[in-house]
């Protein structure tokens, strides 16, 4: 049981970071990016190809994060332009349709060009024993990176002017414009950050199990579930829900079976919507 819970925390920290990247973009008046997981997979592919080309892992990871950010930048400056012109439900719907299209195209391209490519980063070093359970060094590093990312995100949003500007545009776009914040620049920043966070999670996931080119949609689904449970627009909520669902995930696949895990996670999301529609730490509309 302890082992399953510790594994759950390792997984959950990464789920949490994944959810932050999705929820930030949704905060732009309801832009739902269904190609989000594909940003992660593309970043992983770029890391893998760069390493094959002979770059050391650390450098390749840098290139991969850059690629994730670039994906976000391109999405922001092409298809999402049309989305930003709409408001309310229309914005949600158009973003959903367009990014679903992007997801299909990326899926098709990846399967055609790189059907067998997968990223797995092997982290050397001995397992460390925590609470009597041996934890692999890959898990430890992945968790450390995710935790560090959370701290960095938290400080960015709370303590820097730029971070506050990003939050302001999510809370009231017109109010943000009235204090001199350019919504276009903030959107670009958010999409780039989102792509980089997706890429980061793909990298940390590959430290414990291979990330293949077909995993795009499952990354998106995990991010969606965590976002719903944690509450839209809440970094702390994503952190909490990520860890909670990570534990649910590993414990249920350990005791019940992997095949039911998705259903249990979706059940947790459905239950949250019924009991607390705004999520654990979300703010009611």
């Amino acid at each position: 049981m302890t082992a399953a819970i510790l594994d759950g925390i390792v997984l959950g920290l990464q789920f949490g970071i994944l959810a932050v990247g999705l929820t930030l973009v949704y905060g732009l008046g309801g832009v739902l990016n269904l190609a989000y997981g594909h940003m992660a997979v593309v970043a992983a592919l770029v890391v893998s190809l760069t390493m094959e080309a002979g770059l050391p892992a650390a450098g390749a990871v840098g290139v991969g994060l850059f690629a994730g950010g670039l994906f976000g930048l391109l999405l922001n400056s092409t298809l999402l332009r049309a989305v930003y012109r709409l408001r309310g439900e229309a914005r949600v719907l158009l973003s959903l349709l367009l990014t679903l299209g992007v997801a299909f195209v990326v899926d098709g391209l990846l399967l055609w060009r790189y059907p067998t490519e997968a990223l797995s980063l092997h982290i050397g070093g001995d397992a460390v024993e925590i609470l009597g359970v041996p934890i692999r060094s890959g898990s430890l590093l992945a968790s450390g990176i995710a935790f560090f990312a959370f701290v960095a995100l938290f400080l960015f949003f709370r303590a820097t002017t730029l971070g506050k500007a990003v939050r302001s545009i999510i809370q009231d776009e017109e109010g943000a414009r009235l204090v001199g914040i350019d919504p276009n620049r903030m959107r670009t920043l958010i999409l780039v950050l989102s792509g980089m966070l997706a890429g980061l999670v793909a990298v940390t996931r590959s430290m414990t199990s291979p990330v293949t080119v077909t995993q795009g949609i499952s990354f998106t689904i995990f991010a969606l579930i965590v976002t719903v449970v944690g509450g839209l627009g809440s970094v702390a909520g994503a952190f909490l829900a990520g860890i909670l669902l990570g534990i649910v995930n590993t414990v249920s696949s350990f005791y019940i079976g992997t095949f039911l895990t998705y259903i249990i996670l979706l059940g947790a999301a459905a239950l949250t919507i019924l009991l607390r529609p705004s999520g654990l730490l979300g703010v009611p509309e």
Binding site: T161, L178, V179
Partner: protein, 232 residues
């Protein structure tokens, strides 16, 4: 300082205000009165770069700012406090004031001016805007706008939703700002308050300027007395 020439603006091709010309000189307090739906908000939104005008121009300190978006106008020195306030519900008073000075660091001197004007904000630095009362939110909206050190402050119905006592207090605060040399343009439905406060005014009805003149002159006009001051 501000000159609006033959401005027309509206939504989806239907103009709400037609051919409006107004001007505000440095150091003046000017009011725009008009009933609900007369077009005050549309006029202000077009002037302040939140809505694209269909024709006409806006000059600020001699510069044509007709096509300038709100986020740039605020750096030119126009602060706008909309009727709906548009605060950030999950941010504290302090964070609002910090963002008000964006992209610069908040100036401690301006901040102490705001806290002197609205001691309530000073007592509630860590409170989130979403949990504040209507009066406090209005103070915060004005305080946030002041942090950019505007030369012209534009307020759209600053007394919306305020109890009479609070509405009086709001105008007392605006009076203090005025004496400090700030130029003010205020749209108001509570006409007696605005008249006592301003030098000049315009009457906007159905999107057109119907009357203009000194505040006392307007207060004596039989049409204004009938329509806005409840005198028959």
């Amino acid at each position: 300082m501000l000159e609006v020439r033959s401005l027309s603006a509206g939504y989806q091709g239907n103009d709400v205000v037609h051919d409006v010309s107004i001007h505000v000189e440095e150091g003046e307090a000017v009011m725009i009165i008009g009933s609900n739906g007369a077009g005050k908000t549309t006029l202000f939104r077009a002037m302040c770069g939140l809505l694209r005008s269909s024709s006409g121009e806006v000059l600020f300190s001699g510069e044509d700012v007709s096509r300038m978006p709100a986020q740039k106008l605020v750096r030119r020195g126009i602060g706008f406090v909309p009727a709906e306030r548009h605060l950030f519900p999950r941010m504290t008073v302090q964070e609002h004031l910090a963002l008000g000075a964006y992209p610069k660091r908040p100036d401690p001197e301006t901040r102490s001016i705001v806290f002197e004007l609205f001691p309530r904000l000073g007592e509630r630095r860590r409170q989130r805007a979403g949990t504040m009362s209507g009066g406090e939110q209005q103070m915060l909206a004005v305080g946030r706008a002041l942090m950019s050190r505007p030369r012209l402050l534009v307020l759209d119905e600053p007394t919306t939703g305020l109890a009479p006592k609070l509405a009086h207090e709001a105008y007392e605060a605006l009076g203090v700002l005025r004496r400090q040399g700030l130029t003010l343009l205020v749209a108001e439905q509570q006409v007696p308050l605005a008249m006592a406060f301003s030098d000049r005014g315009y009457v906007l009805e159905n999107g057109v300027i119907e009357l203009e003149g000194g505040s006392q002159e307007l207060a004596d006009d039989p049409r204004v007395r009938r329509a806005y001051l409840g005198v028959t």
